[in-house]
Structure formats: structure tokens, C-alpha cells
């Protein structure tokens, strides 16, 4: 079989489409890990929750409220789901995670892993594990665009563009603004920042809320592409953790770039040797761990 430029490019574009999900999710994990020192295993479940807010908002919330004609639109879901899930995250941080900061990483990891299992279990009980379609994709994002080398679904192009905007917007705020300087300083030495008079506990709560809101945002973006299912998060999160390990825990730009690159590598592998495409990321993870245990962008400590 001849490998044509078209084939490579189209798989790389589809890979980039997966890559932006890796990027946006690992970015949230990196931001949370930086300030809270917690590996947020609930991230996949919260991503799934975001998709369900969109789905249920479209299909069920109207009838439930006695307004059968009300459907939460896709555009509204992009705002509402992150807010709802972000608020949920804030409750988790205030009531549970807050008690664990003085202990080892491991406890936060176990707690969030437990939460993920509970959330996923509850949804598996009520919803179809093989997934429900989300049919609120707006008309304007249907159809295909001609990229020259391929016809590409408009919706996927939109996902790539908006995800890049959100990722690099987040990077900009953290690395280049006053607000971000508090976050960076808090990541380095929270005690001293507190002693200077900054409300670090509030900052931590909002950071966790923002990190999980990003996951919910990704969940809404994913809903029209993949079907919405209780296990969509746990499938995604395994790959995302591999991305985080490769990029280096806690590096903002590292998590974005690694997510995008690995999505494309995955796409490229589909052309070269398709059966390896689902394992290539883990192979890279093993190599990176052997050669540079702190990750590609991580700082050795």
C-alpha cells in the first residue's frame, strides 16, 4: 500500500482533533497539580459530567422543569456545563480535598480516584454504557470544509480552533498576567504568598474550579463527536495521564504541546501501522520515563 501525502495529512488532522482533547485535559491536570499538589483522578469523570450536562440539558431538563419545549442549546451548554461542573468541583475542594493538602500526594489521588468511581458508577446505573447520541450540534457547524488536501468536518475544525484558543488563552493568563503571577508564586511557595497577604485558600479553590471547568468544556466539545457515555471519561483519562507523564507534571506549555503532538503521532501511526495506534503513546511514555523521568518539559528536582 502506498502512503500518500493526503492520507498522512488527513490522519494527522484527525489526530490533532484528538490531541486538542488531550491538551485541554492535561492542561487542567497540570494547573491543578501545580497549585494543589493533587493528581486529579476525577478529571475524566468530570469531563464525562460536562458532556452529560450538555446532553441532559438538551433532552431532559425542559420536560423536567415542566417546559417541554426548552432545550439547552449547544452554545449555552459550552458556558453552562463548565459553570455547573466548576461549581461541583468547588464543593469537592472545599469539603474534601482541602483536608488532604498536608498529607502525601497519594491521599488526594486516592480520594479523587474514589470520586471518579462513584460518579461513573452512578451514571452507569442510570444511563446507557454504550452511549447516547448528542443531537444538538448547531447547523452552522455541520458539513465539511475543503482544506485543500482533504475534506474536513466543519465541527472538528471548530473543536480544534476553539480548544487552541482556550489552551493558549489559559497559558497567556498564567504566564503573562498579574493574576497568573499569583498562581505561579503560589505553586512555588504558597506559605510565603499567604504571608504577603494573598488569600491563597481562595485561590486554590478557584483554581480547582477552573481546572475541572476545562474538563467539562472538553466534555461538551466531545459530545457531538463521540457518543455520550458514562465510561467516556475513564477511556480518555488513561491516555491523558500518559500525556501528562510524557510532558512533565505541572508544566503548562508542556502539557499543551505534548497533548497536541501525541494526538498527531497517534494519527500518523494509524497510517503507518494501524494496530499500534492505540499503544504508541504508552510506548513513548515508557521511553521518556527511561530517558527523562521528569518528563519532556518537567524540571528535575
Amino acid at each position: 500500500m502506498e502512503i500518500s501525502f493526503q492520507m498522512v495529512m488527513s490522519q494527522v488532522m484527525l489526530g490533532l482533533n484528538n490531541g486538542v482533547f488531550y491538551a485541554i485535559l492535561s492542561l487542567g491536570l497540570a494547573v491543578i497539580f501545580g497549585l494543589l499538589n493533587i493528581v486529579n483522578f476525577a478529571h475524566g469523570a468530570l469531563y464525562m459530567l460536562g458532556a452529560y450536562v450538555a446532553l441532559l440539558g438538551y433532552t431532559s431538563i425542559g420536560p423536567l422543569l415542566g417546559m417541554p419545549d426548552f432545550h439547552l442549546s449547544y452554545w449555552a451548554a459550552l458556558i453552562v456545563a463548565p459553570l455547573v461542573v466548576g461549581a461541583f468541583g468547588i464543593v469537592i475542594e472545599r469539603t474534601m480535598l482541602r483536608r488532604l493538602y498536608k498529607f502525601d500526594h497519594l491521599y488526594g489521588l486516592l480520594l479523587t480516584f474514589g470520586l471518579a468511581l462513584i460518579i461513573q458508577g452512578v451514571f452507569t446505573n442510570f444511563f446507557n454504557v454504550s452511549g447516547d447520541p448528542y443531537e444538538a450540534k448547531p447547523e452552522i457547524l455541520s458539513g465539511v470544509v475543503n482544506l485543500g488536501f482533504m475534506m474536513f468536518p466543519k465541527y472538528r475544525l471548530w473543536v480544534i480552533v476553539i480548544s487552541l484558543v482556550v489552551c493558549f488563552g489559559t497559558w497567556y493568563v498564567i504566564e503573562r498576567t498579574k493574576l497568573g503571577s499569583y498562581l505561579r508564586a503560589g505553586t512555588e511557595n504558597p506559605e510565603l504568598v499567604k504571608a504577603f497577604g494573598v488569600n491563597v485558600p481562595l485561590m486554590i479553590t478557584l483554581t480547582y474550579g477552573y481546572g475541572v471547568a476545562l474538563a467539562a468544556f472538553a466534555g461538551v466539545l466531545a459530545a457531538p463527536i463521540y457518543s455520550v457515555s458514562p465510561v467516556m471519561g475513564s477511556e480518555m483519562i488513561i491516555t491523558v495521564f500518559a500525556v501528562v507523564v510524557i510532558g512533565g507534571m505541572g508544566s503548562i506549555m508542556g502539557s499543551i504541546v505534548t497533548g497536541l503532538l501525541l494526538g498527531m503521532v497517534e494519527g500518523f501511526t494509524k497510517v503507518v501501522y494501524a494496530p499500534a495506534s492505540s499503544t504508541v503513546i504508552f510506548l513513548i511514555m515508557v521511553i521518556v520515563l527511561l530517558v527523562k523521568p521528569a518528563g519532556l518539559f518537567g524540571k528535575e528536582s
Binding site: 508564586a185 510565603l192 504571608a195 497577604g197
Partner: protein
């Protein structure tokens, strides 16, 4: 009583502090008047840094009373204490490596009116202006110390807690710091210095507290200094 001339800025009564199982401070009593420069002298591990950390609220377990301008702080959230007008310069300087020099300068929130403007700070520390876009920890040790001092002058804090600011610095920089402390005293700042460098401290301070094994062993005023040198040498082992 020399301190009765001053209005009270800080009063510590029967302060005990703990790190985990270890009992570090054993009933500290001290007070500092407005505009005074006071040093905490003592050997390493005597508890001087812990006193400063207790004041800013960075010691988890403490008992007793600490009042700042009459306000009790031992039950306050750490981030509120600074807003009573405290500027803290930690022993390890606490320059943030992921922040530029200017971001480091602008980090501590303004806690009271009357702080120096960024422009005044750059006039006072021209090196920092030159290197404003470098990352904080790229500066030399002396420059980092200037930065750690400068950033609390911006906040309007009137009570400065300075932990070992001369440690590991060249004599010429120590002299500059000495002039800076003198100038700040002129301006009416209240300053608590934890110092290893006794000669640096002796020239500047109104009073000295000698800390030994987590308790106050002596309080020596500037006038008594000459006659107390034997006693001091015994405590400090200099």
C-alpha cells in the same frame, strides 16, 4: 523604660510554638514600639526565625498572644495578618524563580497607604530596573536580597520583619543594607532584625533581645551594650 516613649506596635505575650512534636518557643514575651529597630540575637536554632514566622502566621501550632497595634492576631487567617501592615523578608529570601524581577516586586499586595511607588523603588535600586525582565532567581545573591527588601517597601507595611538579610553577602552589600535600614528608620519604619552579624546589628538597633533555647535570655538597650559584651559573648559564642 526606653520603650515607653514609643507607641506600642507589637506585643508578644507568653508565646509558645511547636513544629510537629517539637516545642520550639517556651513563653516569649517581648514588645516593640513604633519606630524602633530591635534585633533578635542568638545562636542558630535558638528560635529567632520561629518568632518572626509566628508573627506572620506561618507556624501551625502556637499559643499565647501576639498583638499588632493592639489587634490580636493568633486566631487570624494568615493572609489577613499582613494587612495589619507587616512586611516579611524570609531568611531564604523567597524570590520566585518563575516570576520576573518586576513580577516579584509587584507580587505582595499593597496593605496600607504610603508605600513606595515602583518608580521610587527603581530609583533606590537601579540594578533592579536594569534587570526587571530577568527571572527572579537569575539575580546575584545581593540583588536578590535587595529585591526581597524592595518588594515589601512597596506594600506600605510599617512593621518590617527581616530575617538574616546580611547572610552570605559581600561586605560592600552589607554596608549598603546598613545604610538602607538606617534610612528606613529615619522614615519611621519599625524593624525587627534577626541577625547573625552582630556588628551590623549593633550599629542600627535601639534594643537587642537575646534568644536562647526558645526563651528570652536578656534584653539589652543600646546604652547597656558596652557593659554587656561579656554576657553577650557567652550567649552568642562570638
Amino acid at each position: 523604660m526606653t520603650e515607653s516613649v514609643h507607641k506600642e506596635m507589637l506585643r508578644i505575650t507568653d508565646l509558645h510554638a511547636f513544629y510537629g512534636e517539637s516545642h520550639i518557643l517556651h513563653g516569649i514575651n517581648l514588645n516593640v514600639g513604633e519606630g524602633e529597630v530591635v534585633t533578635l540575637l542568638g545562636r542558630n536554632g535558638a528560635g529567632r526565625t520561629t518568632i518572626l514566622k509566628s508573627i506572620v502566621g506561618l507556624v501551625g501550632r502556637r499559643s499565647g498572644s501576639i498583638t499588632i497595634s493592639g489587634v490580636e492576631t493568633t486566631r487570624m487567617a494568615t493572609h489577613r495578618i499582613a494587612h495589619l501592615g507587616i512586611g516579611y523578608c524570609p531568611e531564604e529570601r523567597g524570590i520566585f524563580s518563575s516570576l520576573t524581577v518586576e513580577e516579584n516586586l509587584l507580587l505582595p499586595p499593597v496593605v496600607q497607604g504610603g508605600g513606595m511607588s515602583l518608580q521610587e523603588i527603581y530609583e533606590m535600586f537601579p540594578n533592579l530596573l536594569e534587570r526587571r525582565s530577568s527571572m527572579g532567581t537569575r539575580l546575584s545573591g545581593g540583588e536578590q536580597q535587595m529585591l526581597a527588601m524592595a518588594r515589601i517597601l512597596r506594600t506600605g507595611a510599617k512593621l518590617l520583619l527581616l530575617d538574616e538579610i546580611t547572610e552570605g553577602l559581600a561586605p560592600v552589600i552589607v554596608q549598603t543594607l546598613g545604610r538602607l535600614i538606617g534610612a528606613l528608620k529615619e522614615k519611621g519604619f519599625t524593624i525587627i532584625l534577626v541577625e547573625q552579624n552582630f556588628h551590623f546589628a549593633a550599629d542600627l538597633a535601639d534594643r537587642h533581645y537575646v534568644i536562647d533555647h526558645g526563651a528570652i535570655a536578656e534584653m539589652i538597650t543600646r546604652d547597656e551594650l558596652a557593659s554587656s559584651m561579656d554576657k553577650l559573648n557567652r550567649y552568642l559564642g562570638v
